[in-house]
């Protein structure tokens, strides 16, 4: 069994638990929001939805990249990796804009329990996206310098990064439905 793949799987298991806890906290305080802003009152699901599509698209481009990589088409691999990084970066940009907008309206992390749990949850997801981008960038760099030419070990590493990235997106699917879609319902 490939080592890196197994390791990343276990890592994801622990990460999933971590996010589960943050989500439970968010849901718990959704029931007892207290005064001040709520998801429904300050969030903009449409806008975030659009940026989310970019993130999901980046999963697709990552798949293509992996596909090209297996086909030993390293130039194409590089292109698709760059595309993935670009899409992920745009998602982060969107999140930054969202945060900025919230701060302007006085929704800071310590404003009320909704704000705290919201920023904690989405913030940590953002952090994970960022880490994923760094990892993918490194892979892209390697493939650019032609040092990715697929020995079993590199292929394993490549897949591991891919799995992590898909996990980050999957978590966003949950967060988006719990935080944004629930707000519309």
């Amino acid at each position: 069994m490939p080592k890196a793949k197994l390791a990343i799987g276990l890592f994801i298991l622990s990460e999933a638990n971590f996010f589960l806890l943050l989500i439970i906290a968010y849901v718990y305080y959704h029931a007892y929001p207290g005064s001040g802003p709520t998801a429904a009152s300050v969030l903009n699901p449409m806008r975030t939805g659009l940026f989310s599509i970019l993130l999901f698209a980046s999963s697709a481009t990552m798949l293509v990249a992996a596909n090209r990589y297996r086909a030993r088409a390293y130039r194409a691999t590089l292109t698709w990796l760059v595309a993935t990084v670009a899409l992920g970066a745009m998602f982060l940009l969107g999140q930054a804009l969202e945060y900025a907008g919230l701060y302007e309206r006085g929704v800071a992390v310590n404003r009320n329990l909704f704000a705290t749990t919201f920023f904690t949850l989405t913030g940590f997801h953002g952090l994970h996206v960022f880490i994923g981008l760094v990892a993918i960038a490194i892979v892209a760099g390697l493939s650019a310098s032609g040092r990715l030419a697929g020995s079993a070990r590199e292929a394993d590493a490549f897949e591991a990064v891919g799995i992590y990235w898909h996990f980050v997106d999957a978590v966003w699917v949950v967060i988006f439905s719990v935080v944004y879609l629930w707000a519309i319902l």
Binding site: L20, V27, Y28, A31
Partner: protein, 270 residues
């Protein structure tokens, strides 16, 4: 305590259930006519299903208590299918596989990923308040729900208890399969346990046709909040213990059959 009397008398021999169970038994008797050694399991399964669906438990579930309804579902999902499957003999199982169409169906459905997803999706979807309430409002939807549970659960337990050893999952995989299912079951249960009361409004103000509501509320202390908690806890703890039991069973089966020898003793393995 006439109320309790009414409750104990509230048996509802719905023809669909009676006929269904009878048909199951008949089919089994026919298929196994030369070997009834495993019949007790199968009969036990049918009996459990029958009791769950016609006994006062059903009355409680439909009208009064979320927790009772949960208990009924747990029986249908966690108790009945394993019993039914264990009742089948390997011979019959092989006979079924002999039919190419059926064999193909089994290969698809018994794929762990498929079976797992089917079962868990069913479990989660039907607990979505809108759907769950629909089952309480409309008897046909309710029957559909129970069928969904029975079928997908049977598919779920097949790779664990399949009579034909070759159809079973490899033990380590089986443990992961069951463990993940247990987690998914627990997460849902925890959500139900800690959710605000009134997730399923029908249980807030039951139409008290048996006149037992006071007994339930005061006597048993099952206020709507307590009732919903109890339901969640039932799914969480006893439900989880069933999955755990299955894991232990798989391991016991695994450890009890001797391993194939690897190479010969003393001589180096090359």
């Amino acid at each position: 305590m006439s109320g309790v009397g009414n409750l104990l008398r509230a048996w509802d021999f719905d023809p669909s259930i009676v006929i269904g169970c009878a048909a199951l038994l008949a089919a089994y008797a026919f298929a196994h006519r030369d070997d009834y050694s495993r019949a007790p399991w199968f009969v036990g399964g049918v009996a459990a299903m029958f009791l769950a669906l016609v006994s006062p438990l059903d009355a409680l579930s439909d009208e009064y208590l979320f927790s009772a309804h949960m208990l009924q579902h747990l029986i249908l999902i966690l108790i009945v299918p394993p019993l039914l499957i264990s009742g089948l003999s390997a011979k019959v199982a092989r006979a079924i596989r002999a039919v190419p169409a059926l064999a193909r169906i089994e290969t698809i459905l018994a794929t762990p990923a498929v079976a797992w997803t089917l079962a868990m999706a069913t479990l989660w979807i039907w607990h979505w308040p809108a759907l769950y309430n629909a089952t309480l409002a409309n008897e046909d939807v309710h029957i559909l729900e129970h069928l969904c549970f029975l079928v997908t659960a049977t598919i779920f337990w097949w790779p664990i208890f399949a009579p034909d050893a070759r159809a079973r999952m490899e033990p380590t995989h089986a443990i992961v399969y069951l463990a993940t299912a247990m987690v998914s079951n627990s997460v849902l249960a925890i959500l139900l346990t800690f959710a605000e009361p009134g997730l399923y409004p029908a249980y807030l103000h039951p139409v008290d046709s048996l006149g037992i509501l006071p007994i339930l509320r005061e006597g048993w202390g099952l206020t709507p909040a307590a009732d919903q908690q109890l339901g969640g806890l039932l799914m969480w703890v006893p439900g989880g213990l069933v999955f755990l039991g299955a894991i232990i069973f798989v391991m016991a089966r695994w450890y009890s059959d001797p391993e194939p020898r690897t190479g010969t003793l003393g001589v180096a393995a090359r």
